[in-house]
Every structure is written in C-alpha cells, then in structure tokens.
C-alpha cells in the first residue's frame, strides 16, 4: 500500500514536471533563444545572400600547414553606425519623448476616469469598467484608422472648426507629432485605466472620511492620501503604456509625418526596405537596452501583485 502511494506521488511529481516543462521549453525556444540570435546577428555583416548576413563562425582550413582553425568574427561596425549617425540617436530620443508624452496624456485622461469609476456605485463599476476595456477588443489597426478620417484636412475636426467659424480653411492635424500623441493615447488608455482602477478601488474610504473630519479640504486629502496610495497603480499603468510605446510602429507609420522619427519605424525600414538584417538587429538590441530597466521594474511589480493575490 505504501509502495503504491509513493508510486502515485511520484507520478504526481512527474506530472507536475511535465506541466512546467512544456511551457518552459516553448518559451526558451521561442522567446529566449531568438534574443540570443538577434544579439549574435547584430555582430554580423550584411551580405547579398540568402539569408542576408555573414556567418559569425568560420572553419578555416590551411592546406599548406595542414591545419584548420575555428575563427569567430565579431563585427561591431553596426553599433558604431548607430552611435555615429544622428538619424538613429534622434530616433531614440524622439521615441522616448513620444512615449513619455503619451504616458502623461494617458495619465491625465485615465486617472480621473479610474477615480470616478472607483467612486461610483459598486453595482455600476463592473459595466463602467467594461466600457473602458471594450474598445481594446476591437482591432488596434481599425481604431488608428478611425482617427485618419477625423484628423485629416477636410476631416471631421477640420470641418467642425470651419463650420464654427474658428478657422477659414481646412486644418491638417494628420501627419504630425500631435496626431501620433492622440492616436497612441487613444490606443493605450485602457492599459492605464485598468491598474489605476484596481488600486483606487481597494483604497479604504474611511481614510478620506477621517481626513475630512479632521478638517482637511478635499483637494488636500486627495494630494496627501489618495495620490500616494494610488502610486503603485500609477507606476504599473505608466510602464504598461511607456514600454510598448517606445517601440511603437503602426501609429507613427499611419498617423505621423515623414519626420516623425521613431525607433520602431527605423528598425522596420532597415529590415524591409534596406534588407540590412544585422543593422536591424543592432537597433533591436539598442532598443532593448533602453527598455531593460523599465521592463525589470514592471516584472518586479507584476510578481509582487501575483504574490499579493494569493
């Protein structure tokens, strides 16, 4: 009997091992290994071949001396090119700027929304949050597309302004940095509202009542109680918006002008237009270096949240 039990528990352990191993191996192969390959190819040379990059490792046979040696060629010119060309540096700085402005705009629009929903009647909170998340389920591409018709010259906003007599001719907002800000804020807003709402909802309302009893004005209570307590939500939401926004490609490509430089666009063009895979890889590695600290903070928060949920 005890033998049977121990056998069964061993099967249980073995089963657990399989349950962990399958997604683990999948992620190692399709998530971690690809990064190593990108890192490797960023040191390769662009050549006209299929695939268009030079091999890092070469086996050289010397027929005279009858010896052979393994040669590893690391080519760091790709990184020098990134550091030496203003285009890349400008694109990095501009991406960080656009992502920061987007994060700020999301916070400005999203915080009052999350606060209002958290303060609403408990029965209404679910449907109100549902309304925030619902657009996220419709296509990202379609939502960006919707803004083209609104922002272009002779578009909805332009016609409204003309009709109201504020402007005399068509106004073109499309193909500018502002169009990118609006489009990105629009798309990332639910990611900001969600974590903000979950921290604000958990807040104890008696704290505010106590402050009010002690004579604190509502605005001061907000600054000294609500805002600090919602800081985890602010940080989580900001990272959730900022990190993908830095590498954003679709929005600047469709709404931005030709001078709206973003690193995602540069990477895309290096890869698809110039077919320079090694430089595209170097751009990706440099982008990852910018994002590694924010991503680690995000993972730390995510991990703590999962622990707290238990």
């Amino acid at each position: 009997m005890t033998a049977l039990v121990s056998l069964l528990s061993r099967v249980g352990l073995w089963g657990r091992g399989v349950v962990v191993a399958i997604p683990y191996l999948w992620l190692l192969l399709f998530f971690l290994v690809p990064f190593l390959i990108v890192f490797g190819i960023s040191f390769a040379e662009s050549i006209i071949a299929q695939p268009p990059y030079s091999s890092l490792v070469e086996w050289q046979v010397d027929p005279d001396a009858d010896t052979s040696k393994l040669q590893i060629l690391l080519n760091i010119t790709n990184y020098f090119r990134l550091a030496g060309d203003d285009l890349y540096i400008l694109a990095y700085l501009n991406s960080v700027k656009i992502a920061l402005v987007t994060t700020l705009l999301c916070l400005l629009v999203g915080y009052p929304m999350a606060y209002a929903i958290a303060k609403a009647d408990p029965a209404r909170r679910g449907p109100l949050m549902m309304l925030v998340i619902l657009p996220f389920w419709t296509s990202f591409l379609i939502r960006i597309y919707a803004w083209i018709g609104i922002l272009k010259g002779n578009g909805v906003i332009s016609n409204l302004l003309e009709w109201a007599g504020i402007t005399s001719g068509p106004v073109e907002i499309l193909y500018s940095d502002w169009a990118v800000y609006i489009g990105m804020t629009y798309c990332y807003l639910p990611f900001m509202v969600l974590p903000l709402y979950s921290t604000l909802e958990k807040m104890d309302p008696t704290l505010l009542e106590a402050a009010a009893d002690l004579g604190s004005r509502p605005f001061k209570s907000f600054l000294s109680i609500t805002l600090p307590l919602s800081l985890p939500g602010i940080v989580a939401g900001s990272l959730l918006v900022f990190i993908p926004a830095v590498g954003e490609f679709v929005t600047p490509e469709l709404l931005g002008g030709p001078d709206t430089l973003m690193i995602g666009r540069v990477l895309w063009n290096e890869f698809f237009s110039n077919r320079d895979w090694p430089v595209a890889s170097a751009v990706a590695i440099a982008l990852l270096l910018v994002l590694v600290v924010p991503i680690m903070i995000f993972q730390h928060i995510q991990g703590k949240q999962a622990e707290a949920g238990k």
Binding site: V38, P112, A146, V156, G247
Partner: protein, 277 residues
C-alpha cells in the same frame, strides 16, 4: 459638489474620446460618397463591394484559421504556465520562467517579430524546419506572444480562488490529474474562455509580428488592411471595420451574459449547499 461635477465630466469626456471615433467609423461606412468625410446619402454599396473583394476574404479566412489554432495552443500552454506559477510554489528556474511570461506583455512588437523571424531562419538552416515562412510560422509566433496573456488571466483566476476544494479532493484520495480535470478545470473555465477570446483577438489584430514572419502567399487580414490604409482611407475598410466591431461586440455581449449566468448558478449552488449542509 463641484468635485463630483468635475469627475463625471472627466468620465464622460473619456468615454466620448473612446467611442466617438468608432461611431464615426460606423456612420461613414454607410456613406454613398467615396470621400469618407463628406456625407452624400445612405448606401450599403461598400458592404456589397466588400463581399466581392477576394483578396480581403481570403486574408480574412487565413487570419481566422491562424487565430483559432494559435488561441487554442495558447490556452493549453498558458494554462500549464498559470498553474505552475500559482500552484507549484518554488521550483528551479521559477524566476526566469516568470520573467519570460511577463516580458512578452510589454515587449515592443518589432522586437518580437524580428527575433522570431531570425529564429525561424536559423532553425531552417540547422534542422530544416519550418520549411520557409507561412501559416505555420505565423501560428507559432502568435501562440508565443498570446500564451503570456492567457497565463496571466489563468494565474489571477487561480490566485483569487482558494485551494481548499483541491486539497479536499486530494485528501479524499483523488490523483492530481483527476483533481485538475474534475475540480480545477471547471472552476477556471471562465478564465480559459476569456483567455481564448483574448488570444484570438490579439492574433486577429496583429500586423507587425505577422509581417515579419509571413511568407509569400500568407497575407493576413491586418496586413491587407494596413497596406490599403497606407494608401489612404476607403469606405470599404469602414464597412469591414463595422462588421468587425459588430462581431466583437456580439461576442463579448454573449460571453458576459453566459458568464454572469454561470456565476449566479454557482452562487445559488453554494447557498443551497450551505443551507442543506
């Protein structure tokens, strides 16, 4: 009083910001004029044209197939991952595992796309598989980045649920596999449905990763939309968008009603159990 006024204004502004563009998109899909911004009377001709656009229909079919397969794979892998993260305590390599689950949630799509393409090219060189790029590579790529979302949804459902039922079953002698299929699985079923729908939508929505890992003859619906949008707006895209919004809205509506009903049933059963016990 003034503060409440401000808050509801902010809320209404937020909802208007979120929904006005979608409403305008739908309205102009019924516009007779080719110029999307000038209203020229009601018409459904763009819908009729849509039905005869073979490129678009083929791409849509392909996208649905990829989305269905990758969402199913993602649910299987994501459930295992969610289970491992919330029920198995500490195991070797857990930190790395957790990191690989959460990083794809925020990873810029251009990096994911490029890195997966380079992997597929390298794999083809080394082991000869996958043979070229196409439906298989898109499906594998979509499975990889959507399984993280499923894992997070499943993990949070498991974390919100106490393990006493599972422990009771275990104490009564049920084997782990049986406990999972009889107790855990029905309890996390809503999370699995939500995770599947989320993975399906994300796959159906992706243009960047698919552009990197697709090959000739495997153009997905978002890729077709993206290239036609780059040439300017067309009422046909409006009609397509309206149909997509309609499908998504119906899907969410039905799913939330079913889930609410199940939740009520579960609460009733619990009440009954408490009263009878």
């Amino acid at each position: 009083m003034k503060r409440i006024g401000f808050l509801s204004w902010a809320l209404w502004f937020g909802y208007a910001f979120l929904y006005v563009p979608i409403v305008l998109l739908i309205v102009y899909s019924f516009n007779d004029s080719r110029l999307v911004t000038v209203w020229a009377g009601f018409s459904t001709k763009w819908y009729a044209e849509l039905l005869h656009n073979d490129t678009l229909l083929d791409a849509a079919l392909l996208s649905f197939r990829v989305a269905a397969v990758s969402a199913t794979l993602a649910v299987m892998l994501g459930t295992c991952a969610g289970l491992a993260l919330s029920r198995f305590g500490r195991f070797r390599g857990r930190t790395l595992f957790g990191g690989m689950i959460t990083a794809p949630l925020v990873m810029p799509e251009v990096i994911t796309g490029l890195s997966l393409l380079l992997l597929f090219v390298a794999m083809e060189q080394w082991v000869g598989w996958p043979d070229g790029r196409g439906v298989t590579t898109i499906t594998l790529a979509h499975t990889t980045f959507t399984m993280s979302y499923v894992a997070v949804v499943v993990q949070s459902r498991l974390a919100g649920m106490d393990g006493s039922l599972e422990e009771a079953a275990m104490d009564l002698g049920a084997r782990p596999a049986k406990v999972f299929f009889v107790i855990t699985l029905p309890l996390i079923a809503p999370a699995l449905v939500a995770g599947w729908l989320l993975a399906f939508t994300l796959s159906l929505d992706d243009v960047v990763v698919a552009s990197f890992v697709s090959g000739p003859g495997s153009t997905t619906l978002p890729m077709v939309i993206f290239s036609s949008v780059k040439f300017g707006i067309s009422p046909q895209i409006n009609a397509l968008a309206t149909l997509m919004v309609l499908v998504v809205a119906t899907g969410i509506f039905v799913a939330s009603i079913v889930m609410a009903r199940q939740e009520r049933q579960r609460k009733r059963d619990e009440q009954m159990a408490i009263q009878n016990g």
